[in-house]
C-alpha cells in the first residue's frame, strides 16, 4: 500500500486496455464491423493446456510496483506450475459484455478462462448459459465463502460463481473541501460541491444510493421509484451540480481537484486516501449504502483444461492467507472466512477495518439492489443513460 503508483489509475487502465479501447473506437465508426471482427477480441491467443487467462478489473489485484508483478499470482504459478496470464481489461460490465457476447453466442474462444463480472451481470451470464458449472472437487476452499454471500438469488448453490471481492457504494469526498464529511444527499449537494460532483456509471450504485437517500428500499424498488430517482439525477446534472457520470476515472477527478465529492466505491477511496496522505475519505451514507460483488465465472467457451486451471486458481484465492494478502492491497470487502485472522498477521491495522471485514452492524447498513428482469434491465438502463446525456 505504501508504494505510490507512478501512473494515474486512468492512464494505467488506458495503457492496459489499448486494444479494447481501439476496438471500441472502431466500433463507434462502423458498428456492423464488430460482428466480423469477433476473432480478435479478448486477452490473447488460444487457451493452452497449462495456462489460465484471467480478465479482471483494473487495480483489483495486489501489485508490486518494483517488480511489476502480481505477487499472489506469481506464487500461484510457482505452486501449481500453471502459467497465469492476467489482463486488466474488464473496465465496465456492459462494455465487456458487448465485446464478447457475439463470440459467446457462437461458442468461440473469448480469450479468457476466468472473468469477474458484477452480480447482476453474472446473473445475465448464467441466464444466457454463458457460465460453466464448477467442478467442486477442484475448489475445496469454496466452503470458506462468507455465509452472507453463499446463496445469492442468481446462483443459490454457488455452482458457477464465487465472489472475488465485495464492493460498497457510498460517499467519497475531499476532506479539505468537506471538513464535516458527507453522510446525506444534502451534504453531497452542498454549495461547495456545486459542479464538482461525480457519480458512478454503475447504475445500481448511483441510483441505489439516491434511492436509499429518498427512503426507498432498494431490495424492493418499483419502476416509478426508480424513474423518480433517475429524474432527480438528471435534474442535478442539468442544474450543473453533477459534472460527470463515470467509472473508476472519478478517482482521477478527485486527485486533480476537478471533483470534490463523489458517489464512489470503498476500495478506490481507501487507496486514494492512502496515496494522498488522508486527503480523501469515504463513508456509508446515513440512509444506507449499496453492496455488490464481483464474481469469478468460467465462460462457456473455456476448454476443459482451461476450466480446471481456472478452478485451481479460484481455489487458491479462497485460501484465507491469500485472500488476506489481496484484501490488504485492494481494500474491498473480503469474501473469505478466516481471512481476518490471517490479516492480523500481515497488517493488523486492517484486520479491524469495517470496510474489509464489516461487522454485523455495518453489514446491516448495506443493501443489495434487487435483481431486474431482462425487460426492466434494458428499460432502466436506457433511462439511466439518457439522464446522463447519452
Amino acid at each position: 500500500m505504501d508504494s505510490k503508483r507512478s501512473l494515474s489509475p486512468e492512464a494505467r487502465s488506458i495503457i492496459n486496455s489499448q486494444i479494447s479501447r481501439r476496438a471500441l473506437i472502431a466500433g463507434a465508426g462502423g458498428l456492423g464491423a464488430a460482428g466480423l471482427l469477433t476473432a480478435c477480441g479478448g486477452g490473447g491467443g488460444g487457451g493452452s493446456e497449462n495456462a489460465v487467462r484471467w480478465g479482471n478489473w483494473p487495480l483489483y489485484l495486489d501489485f508490486d510496483e518494483e517488480s511489476k508483478t502480481y505477487p499472489t499470482l506469481v506464487k500461484f504459478s510457482e505452486q501449481t506450475g500453471i502459467e497465469a496470464k492476467y489482463f486488466e481489461d474488464y473496465n465496465d460490465n456492459d462494455e465487456f459484455f458487448g465485446k464478447v457476447q457475439a463470440q459467446l453466442k457462437l461458442g468461440e474462444d473469448i480469450g479468457y478462462d476466468v472473468v469477474t463480472p458484477t452480480d447482476w451481470m453474472a446473473a445475465r451470464w448464467i441466464r444466457l448459459g454463458y457460465a460453466q458449472k464448477f467442478d467442486s472437487a477442484n475448489i475445496p476452499n469454496k466452503v470458506n465463502i462468507l455465509d452472507s454471500l453463499a446463496s445469492p438469488s442468481y446462483d443459490p448453490m454457488r455452482e458457477s460463481t464465487l465472489t472475488w471481492q465485495g464492493i460498497m457504494g457510498g460517499f467519497g469526498w475531499n476532506v479539505e473541501k468537506n471538513p464535516k464529511g458527507i453522510r446525506t444527499l444534502d451534504d453531497l449537494f452542498a454549495p461547495q460541491n456545486k459542479g464538482k460532483i461525480v457519480v458512478l456509471s454503475e447504475m445500481r450504485d448511483t441510483i441505489g444510493v439516491i434511492l436509499l437517500g429518498q427512503g426507498v428500499d432498494i431490495t424492493k424498488v418499483t419502476e416509478d421509484q426508480f424513474m423518480n430517482a433517475v429524474d432527480f439525477m438528471a435534474k442535478k446534472i442539468s442544474d450543473g451540480w453533477i459534472r460527470g457520470v463515470k467509472g473508476n476515472e472519478y478517482a482521477e477527478d478527485l486527485t486533480s481537484g476537478d471533483a470534490t465529492a463523489v458517489i464512489g466505491w470503498s476500495g478506490d477511496m481507501f487507496i486514494l486516501a492512502s496515496e494522498n496522505e488522508g486527503k480523501f475519505d469515504f463513508a456509508i451514507p446515513e440512509s444506507g449504502g449499496t453492496i455488490s460483488g464481483d464474481n469469478f465465472i468460467i465462460p462457456s467457451t473455456t476448454t476443459a483444461a482451461g476450466k480446471a486451471n481456472g478452478e485451481k486458481m479460484i481455489n487458491y484465492y479462497y485460501d484465507p492467507a491469500v485472500a488476506a494478502e489481496v484484501a490488504a492491497y485492494v481494500n474491498y470487502v473480503c469474501p473469505v472466512k478466516g481471512a481476518q485472522a490471517e490479516m492480523e498477521k500481515i497488517a493488523p491495522e486492517l484486520a479491524t477495518s469495517e470496510y474489509i471485514f464489516p461487522t454485523e452492524k455495518t453489514a446491516s447498513r448495506l443493501n443489495v439492489f434487487r435483481s431486474l428482469t431482462p425487460d426492466e434491465e434494458s428499460k432502466w438502463a436506457e433511462a439511466f443513460q439518457q439522464a446522463q446525456g447519452n
Binding site: 488506458i14 466500433g27 460482428g35 466480423l36 457476447q101 459542479g195 486533480s256 434494458s378 438502463a381 439522464a387
Partner: protein, 284 residues
C-alpha cells in the same frame, strides 16, 4: 504482354475493392439489417429479431436530435479553429521555415507517435484544476473562482481542435508547398500588394488543401466521442457517445445501428453540399 491492356486497371483496383467490400460494404449491410430489428418477445438482453421497423430511425433521431446538433456544431467549430491555426502554420512551414522545414513537419506529426487517448487524457490534466491554465486564467480574472474548464464544451472543442490539427495542417502544407513562388512574384509585378496577392493568388491555389483538410477534420470530428467522453460532461454528449452507450450499455443494437446510419447519411449530405459549393476539381 500477358495481360490485355484493358484489364490492368481492374486488376489494380482489385485489392482495394476486396478490402472495401469486406470491411465496408458487408458491415454496412449488416448495420442496415440490424437497424430495423426489434426486441425478440420474451427474449433476453441483446436478442433481436428482424421486423423491418423503419420507425427505429424516426424514434432514434427524435430522441437524440440534441446530440446530433451538438456533434455538427462542435465539429464545425473544431474545423474552423483548426483551419485558423493550421493555415498560418502551414504557410510558415511552406514559405518561411527555410532549413527548419523538416523539423517543423516532424513536430506537426510527432503527436501521432503517442496514443490519441493518452493525448486527450493529457488535455484533461492541462485544463484541470491543478494544471496551469485554470489558475493562470483565474489570476488574470478571466474566469471566476468557481469556473472550471474540464467538463465543458470549451474543453471538448479544444480537444477536438487539437486532436485533428495535423489532419488539417498536412494537406494545407502539401498544397501551399506546391504553389510556384513565381505566381506570387507575378502578382507583385502586376501591382498587387502583399494582401491582394495572398487573397487573389495564394488562397485560391491552396483551396485543394483547404477542402481536403476541412473534410479530413470535419468527418471524423462529427463522429468523435472520445473528446466528449474524456473532456466533456453529461451536458456535452455527442452522437458518438449515444451510439456507444446504446451499443455497449443498453445493448440496444438496432437504435445504435439506426443512429450510425443516420449520422453517416447526414455527413454524406453535408459533404456533398460542401464539395458542390467548393467544386470537386479542388480535391485533386
Amino acid at each position: 504482354m500477358s495481360f490485355p491492356k484493358v484489364r490492368v486497371p481492374y486488376l489494380l483496383l482489385l485489392p482495394g475493392f476486396v478490402f472495401l467490400f469486406t470491411f465496408f460494404i458487408l458491415p454496412i449491410i449488416n448495420l442496415a439489417q440490424t437497424s430495423t430489428q426489434t426486441p425478440l418477445s420474451g427474449g433476453d438482453t441483446g436478442e433481436y429479431e428482424q421486423t423491418l421497423a423503419f420507425s427505429n430511425y424516426i424514434q432514434a433521431f427524435v430522441e437524440n436530435k440534441e446530440q446530433f446538433g451538438r456533434s455538427f456544431l462542435y465539429a464545425t467549430l473544431a474545423t474552423i479553429f483548426a483551419l485558423a491555426i493550421a493555415y498560418p502554420l502551414a504557410y510558415a512551414i511552406a514559405f518561411k521555415s527555410g532549413k527548419y522545414k523538416n523539423i517543423l513537419l516532424v513536430l506537426v506529426v510527432a503527436p501521432f507517435f503517442t496514443s490519441f487517448l493518452l493525448r486527450t487524457v493529457a488535455w484533461k490534466q492541462i485544463l484541470g484544476e491543478e494544471g496551469f491554465v485554470v489558475p493562470g486564467l483565474r489570476a488574470l480574472n478571466i474566469i471566476g473562482e468557481q469556473t472550471t474548464l474540464t467538463s465543458t464544451s470549451v474543453a471538448v472543442v479544444a480537444g477536438m481542435t487539437y486532436n485533428f490539427l495535423p489532419f488539417m495542417t498536412l494537406p494545407l502544407y502539401a498544397s501551399l508547398e506546391r504553389i510556384d513562388p513565381r505566381t506570387i512574384e507575378a502578382a507583385g509585378d502586376l501591382y498587387a500588394n502583399g494582401l491582394t496577392a495572398f487573397r487573389r493568388v495564394t488562397v485560391p491555389l491552396s483551396m485543394p488543401g483547404v477542402v481536403a483538410g476541412t473534410l479530413l477534420t470535419f468527418i471524423p470530428a462529427a463522429g468523435d466521442y472520445v473528446n466528449a467522453a474524456i473532456l466533456g460532461s453529461p451536458n456535452t454528449k455527442m452522437i458518438g457517445n449515444v451510439i456507444e452507450s446504446r451499443y455497449f450499455k443498453i445493448v440496444d443494437y438496432p437504435t445504435a445501428a439506426a443512429l450510425s446510419f443516420t449520422l453517416m447519411v447526414a455527413i454524406l449530405i453535408l459533404v456533398t453540399l460542401y464539395i458542390r459549393k467548393a467544386g470537386t476539381e479542388e480535391l485533386v
